[in-house]
Every structure is written in structure tokens, then in C-alpha cells.
């Protein structure tokens, strides 16, 4: 089989049994791979009402048809389950080389059910899978776990995806961490892994991915790489990495300072993106098969954190441990990031939870009596780092912070839910929704809860190639951040194309502009797999994935009223900066979005005609 490994492993931890099946032709044609396979399998296998932390939940890891090949950025992998944070479907996406290694080891996906009686790990090597005891790994952080497993199996190229203490303690704010620094983030997949007593999945493959048309793949890959290098975001990511993105949000007045009380952070200069490159960077790396080395490595050379090694901070890192919590110290941001990596915590949700607690403290909703004597003052670096550790260990006030802001607001009361920045129980990730209307809609309708990467409608920031606009039929108002017109259509289109990238398992940063156009994907897909998908069929696959996630969530009790935003975003105008006076005008965008999706505004259900059209 070209492209695909042709094997999905079903691992039953209750019985310790493993079976292998080939993905069916219908599955390949209609779901492509990656998040497509994952969503279909979760929909089919997770019983309605399943306890997310019970053995009946299903944990799936998947790669895509172009993983482990020359296709630019073909390294991503997906982990998903029913979320303990939201109660809905969730999946997180990570880079590195783990996903490609899984393909070289002979698997398109791992489907894990049940619960092991004792801590265990999976060793996936050259077509074989072993369930091995892991009592000595339990309690170790992600960096220690990877090193121990590489030592044990005598292989420095063993790729390890694992959980830290937070996942073991079933904290909903967890993720699965691949190769120390690549987070399959959001929604508590780490806690699901912990609930299964599964510490790690170590992968190594000496095999290869058979390619249908090698010379065409070579020429198409070169063409796409050249195209990527001509796009404006390439140089920014190449030189500074993702942290520079925060500068744009600051300039536009949407940086979510002090738990989203302000659009501009008054102490921004010291945490601006250039600082990390100029003061701490010791080089950059790329994920596997990726021509864009955006993953920078940092070393703090002096001061209280001297010797601290940190990798791959993101735009969201700078916000969550900088602007959000009122912290002007870039070194606290670097240390907080690595702490989250080692505990396999979702740093976005952790940062928002700490910021929310700080605003509650500011308002007197909680006091030092609730915090064990800690002063939750803005920008208090010691407190930020201590709280991260307490969240991972589920200790003291960390126990409630680890539940996320929705549950914190329920516990704290006193109208604190008005400024609890979450959607469906998942914390809002990047720019303040009041500064970008379409981005706000993306948060509101995302199946996994508030997150920017599901729609990733980056053309609202101005990077909208004319051909993208034409292909989607998006009006020019899409790039007007305060307009609501056309945002429903733009976000729906955007969700569909981002879903294709997640099915292929290509990076959504790399594919954010022209590489995300289906006309640039059909050629490489044909060259790798020898199969034909038309541009329209690819878009239909993306749309099918979005609708199937919807059906999963409706089955779990989702209502249209859940497609909303926090009270503050809808009712409290931003008090400062270039977005001053703005709130989100959600309803007209939702109306347009539901119309484009052909979903019933009252029930949230896709129409029978839409389901038939998508063969659902």
C-alpha cells in the first residue's frame, strides 16, 4: 500500500490483547487519515455518556497518509478521546518526529481501550507492539521518562510520547507530550492516558513509506517549499519563531492582559518576541520533514534561573505566562513553559486558570485563606511557578485550578463566571475575541471548546491570498477584523481546510496560506498514495470531519447555546488600545455560520440533506 502503513492497532488494556486491522477503502476515501480516522473511530467506539476517565473511553493516536515522507511538514500526529474537561470530543495535534516514526514502525493509528491493572507503557517497534510494566516510570516527568526508556532499550532514536505527574493525577488541564517538547495539547488527553494507567508510548521504526510516484513527489515538494519560502510568515517564523505573534495582538489591542481585563499589556516591552532570540536563543530546529525551522532553543545564562534550558515557546506561551498573568519577566515565561512540558500540562489552560485565580484574588472573591497563604498578585513569578507545580501534583489550591476556569467559577461563585474565559469548558487560547470578530466565532463554534487552531482563520490578520478568497468565495470583509459580514462563511471554510491539514497531518502553520489550498494538496497526495482525490472531495472530507464531531457532541448533550463566548467578551467593552470599546457581535455571525453549515439554529442538528450529502 502506498502512503499508508495499512495497519491500525487495537490495544485492549483490560485484557492485554492486541489486534491489527487494515483501514477499509471507505475509511480511506472518506476520512483520509489523521483526525479523520480518529474522529470516525471515536464516534463509533465511545459509548454515549461514557465517563471520560473510565475504561470505556477510547484514546486514539493517529498519523496521516503523507506522514514520514518528503511532503513539507509531514510530521504531525494527533491524539484524541472524549474530553474530561468538556465532556465532548477532543483531539490535540503535535509535531516532532513521533508521528512519522509511528508510520515507519508500521502503523497508521493506535486505538487504546480499557484500563491496565498496573502502570504500563507500550513499546511499538517495527510492526510489533508490547505492553510492558512501568512501575519505575510512574511519578517521573516527561523528560526523565524519555531518557529512561531510551536507556532501557538502548536506542537514542526511540521516540516517546508520555504523560507527567499531572496526567497520573487525572488533572483535566493535561496533554500528551511527545519527545519532551511537542505537546498534543488541549482538553485533558493526558488525564485519559493516566486513567488507563498508561505512562508512555515509545516508538521506533526502521521501515519506510512506499511512494507511488517518487519523481513527482520530489518535484512537487520542491515547488511547495519554494512557494512557502515566498510567503510573508516564513521569514518571521524562521527568524524568531511563534512568539512574535504576540506583538501583533498587542498592537491591535487584543493581548488579553490581566485575565482579559485589558487589550494592551502595559509592561510588554520586556516580553516582546525579539527578546527571546536576542537574549536567550542558542539556535533553531525543525520538526521532521519540515522546511520551516520555527522551533527555537533557549538558554538562560545568568541570574536565578541560570542554566535553564527551554525549547519551542509559542505565541500562546508569551500570553499565558506573560500578558495574561501580568508578568513582565521573560525568564519566568521560559521556566513556566518547561515546567508545563515536564508535567505534560496544557500551558494555555494553565495560564488562563492562574490568571482567573489572580483576578478573583484582586476582586476579593478568594483570599489568602483560600490559597494557603499565597499572595496571588499580578506578575508574581514565584507564585506562578509554584501554582504550576501544585496543579500538576493536585495539591492545595492547585487542585481546583487544575479543573479549569469553568469549574473554578462554579466553586468560587460571586459572578466570577462573567470573566471565566472558556468555551464549553476549555480555556480561550490566544487573542482576545473582542479584537477579532471572526477569530471570536472560531472560538465559539469549535467542537473541542475555545481554541484558535480548529478554524485558524489567519486571513483575518491580513494574510489572505486572493486565490484563497476566490476559492472559498469569502467576501473581502473577511480581513476586516471588526466586521461581522462574511465571517460565518469564512470560518466554516477555514475549519474545513484546517481539517484537511489535520487529516493529512501536515502543520497548520506551514499550510496557513497557499499550502493549505486543496489545489496544492491533490498533487502530493496522488504522488504519495497513487490515489485520486479531487479538490472538492478534499473539502468534503474536511466538512465531514466537522459534522461528525458535531454529531458526537450532540449525542453528548451539546446545545446551540453552548456555541457562545464568556460574558465579558459579549458585554464588557475593551477599555483601552486600538480595539477600545469593542465587544463581540456574535449572533449575526452564528446565524450565518449555521446557515452555511446547514445546521438547525434551534437544535444544532445538521439537516438530513447535509448528512446524506456527507454520507453520515
Amino acid at each position: 500500500m502506498y502512503g499508508y502503513a495499512g495497519r491500525i492497532a487495537f490495544i485492549d488494556l483490560n485484557k492485554g490483547k492486541i489486534s491489527i486491522e487494515a483501514p477499509g477503502e471507505g475509511m480511506i476515501k472518506e476520512y483520509l487519515g489523521g483526525i479523520g480516522f480518529l474522529t470516525r473511530l471515536l464516534y463509533d467506539m465511545v459509548p454515549q455518556g461514557a465517563d471520560p476517565l473510565g475504561p470505556e473511553n477510547v484514546l486514539i493516536f493517529a498519523n496521516g497518509p503523507v506522514n514520514g515522507t518528503l511532503v513539507p511538514s509531514s510530521n504531525r500526529w494527533m491524539v484524541g478521546a472524549k474530553s474530561p474537561a468538556t465532556g465532548f470530543i477532543v483531539s490535540g495535534n503535535a509535531g516532532g518526529l513521533w508521528g512519522a516514526e509511528l508510520k515507519w514502525a508500521g502503523f497508521d493509528a493506535l486505538v487504546i481501550t480499557g484500563r491496565s491493572a498496573n502502570p504500563c507503557y507500550l513499546l511499538v517497534r517495527d510492526g510489533k507492539i508490547g505492553i510492558l510494566p512501568a512501575p519505575d516510570l510512574w511519578g517521573k516527568d516527561t523528560w526523565e521518562t524519555e531518557a529512561l526508556l531510551q536507556d532501557r532499550h538502548g536506542d537514542p532514536n526511540l521516540r516517546v510520547a508520555c504523560i507527567g505527574r499531572a496526567g497520573e493525577n487525572l488533572v483535566p488541564l493535561t496533554c500528551v507530550m511527545g519527545e519532551k517538547v511537542h505537546a498534543g495539547g488541549r482538553g485533558g488527553t493526558g488525564a485519559v492516558m493516566g486513567s488507563k494507567n498508561l505512562k508512555a508510548i515509545a516508538v521506533r521504526g526502521h521501515g519506510g513509506v512506499r511512494i507511488a510516484d517518487p519523481e513527482t513527489l520530489m518535484s512537487e515538494s520542491k515547488r511547495l517549499i519554494e512557494m512557502l519560502m515566498g510567503e510573508y510568515h516564513y521569514a518571521r517564523y524562521r527568524n524568531i519563531g511563534s512568539p512574535k505573534g504576540t506583538t501583533l495582538y498587542q498592537k491591535m489591542g487584543g493581548v488579553g492582559a490581566y485575565n482579559w481585563q485589558y487589550g494592551v499589556f502595559d509592561k510588554f516591552d520586556t516580553i516582546e518576541g525579539d527578546n527571546y532570540k536576542d537574549r536567550y536563543s542558542v539556535g533553531s530546529s525543525a520538526c521532521g520533514c519540515c522546511p520551516l525551522p520555527c522551533w527555537r532553543k533557549y538558554l538562560i545564562k545568568e541570574g536565578p534561573f541560570s542554566g535553564q534550558w527551554t525549547e519551542a515557546i509559542e505565541n500562546s506561551t508569551v500570553q499565558c505566562f506573560g500578558t495574561r498573568v501580568g508578568n513582565p519577566d521573560p525568564e519566568v515565561i521560559l521556566v513556566a513553559h518547561t515546567l508545563c512540558d515536564k508535567h505534560a500540562l496544557d500551558e494555555i489552560s494553565v495560564g488562563v486558570s492562574i490568571a482567573f485565580a489572580m483576578e478573583c484574588y484582586q476582586k476579593g472573591i478568594i483570599t489568602a485563606r483560600d490559597t494557603g497563604g499565597m499572595e496571588l498578585t499580578w506578575g508574581n513569578g514565584d507564585v506562578i511557578l509554584r501554582l504550576i507545580d501544585m496543579i500538576a501534583r493536585s495539591e492545595g489550591i492547585g487542585k481546583i485550578l487544575g479543573q479549569g476556569v469553568k469549574r473554578m467559577a462554579e466553586a468560587f461563585g460571586q459572578d466570577s463566571d462573567k470573566f471565566a474565559y472558556h468555551v464549553k469548558g476549555l480555556e480561550i487560547s490566544t487573542v482576545d475575541p473582542r479584537a477579532y470578530q471572526g477569530w471570536a466565532l472560531g472560538y465559539a463554534v469549535s467542537a473541542r471548546g475555545a481554541d484558535h487552531m480548529r478554524s485558524y482563520a489567519s486571513w483575518e490578520f491580513g494574510d489572505i491570498p486572493e486565490e484563497t478568497r476566490e476559492e472559498a468565495g469569502i467576501p473581502e470583509t473577511m480581513s476586516d477584523r471588526f466586521s461581522v459580514e462574511g465571517k460565518g462563511k469564512g470560518v466554516a471554510y477555514s475549519e474545513n481546510v484546517r481539517a484537511i491539514a489535520d487529516c493529512l497531518e501536515m502543520c497548520k502553520t506551514v499550510t496557513r496560506q497557499k499550502l493549505g489550498l486543496t489545489k496544492n494538496q491533490v498533487g502530493i497526495l496522488r504522488a504519495v498514495t497513487g490515489r485520486d482525490w479531487s479538490k472538492e472531495e478534499l473539502l468534503r472530507i474536511g466538512e465531514r470531519k466537522v459534522n461528525l464531531e458535531r454529531l458526537f457532541n450532540l449525542r453528548e448533550g451539546l446545545r446551540p447555546a453552548d456555541d457562545t463566548l464568556p460574558w465579558r467578551a459579549l458585554h464588557e467593552p475593551l477599555p483601552d488600545g486600538p480595539s477600545e470599546g469593542r465587544v463581540v457581535n456574535l449572533e449575526p455571525m452564528l446565524k450565518e455560520y449555521y446557515g452555511v453549515r446547514d445546521w438547525d439554529r434551534k437544535t444544532g442538528q445538521p439537516s438530513p440533506a447535509k448528512l446524506k450529502e456527507l454520507n453520515l
Binding site: 531518557a147 537514542p156 519506510g208 520542491k222 517549499i225 539556535g283 525543525a286 520533514c289
Partner: protein, 105 residues
């Protein structure tokens, strides 16, 4: 063994493995690490790459597919009589040469 000597740029090689993928793709019709004649070893803790070349490499000089795909321009094949001069350039490092893996008489 190739007449020209492979140097890699320690500052710009990102460890992306596109060179390995291109080599194995053209040599074997599949993308794999084991099938490539150019080898990128990435340090498991520091994520720093080192590039080496197998004596199996049979690409004619000037037509190396690894070179063609490397968009960071981190690879350079240098004629032997110019190679010693390259040693004075700090960021360029000569790739170690690995013994042949194919069957020998």
C-alpha cells in the same frame, strides 16, 4: 566513495531530515531513514544534528538530490582540492563518512 566531500553548516542545518527523505525516495522508491545514504543523527537531549554520508552514495557530482531539497542551504559538496580551505570556515563541518552497507565483493 564520492570524489567531492560533503560539508554541513552547523548553524543552518535544522535536523529536518528532508535530505534523508529525498535520498531514500530516489534510491529506494520509499521514504525512510534506513534507506538513505545521507544520515542525520540528532542528539536526543540537545536536538542538535550531525550529518554524515555513506560510501554507498552514488549520485553523480552536482546532481545530489539531498542538496536539491535542502532549503536551508546547509549542505555543500566540495572538490577535494578545495576541501582543506573549507576547514578554516567555522560553521562548515566535514561530514563523517560511513562504510558501505551494500554487498561488497
Amino acid at each position: 566513495m564520492k570524489a567531492n566531500i560533503l560539508f554541513f553548516d552547523t548553524e543552518h542545518c535544522s535536523g529536518c531530515l528532508l535530505c534523508e527523505m529525498a535520498c531514500s525516495l530516489i534510491q529506494k522508491g520509499e521514504c525512510s531513514r534506513d534507506g538513505s545514504f545521507i544520515k542525520v543523527a540528532i542528539h536526543p537531549y540537545l536536538s542538535v544534528p550531525t550529518v554524515s554520508l555513506s560510501m554507498d552514495c552514488n549520485c553523480p557530482d552536482g546532481q545530489e538530490r539531498c542538496l536539491e531539497i535542502c532549503n536551508q542551504q546547509a549542505l555543500k559538496f566540495v572538490p577535494r582540492d578545495e576541501a582543506t580551505r573549507m576547514l578554516t570556515e567555522k560553521k562548515w563541518y566535514p561530514s563523517p563518512v560511513i562504510e558501505k552497507t551494500v554487498e561488497r565483493p
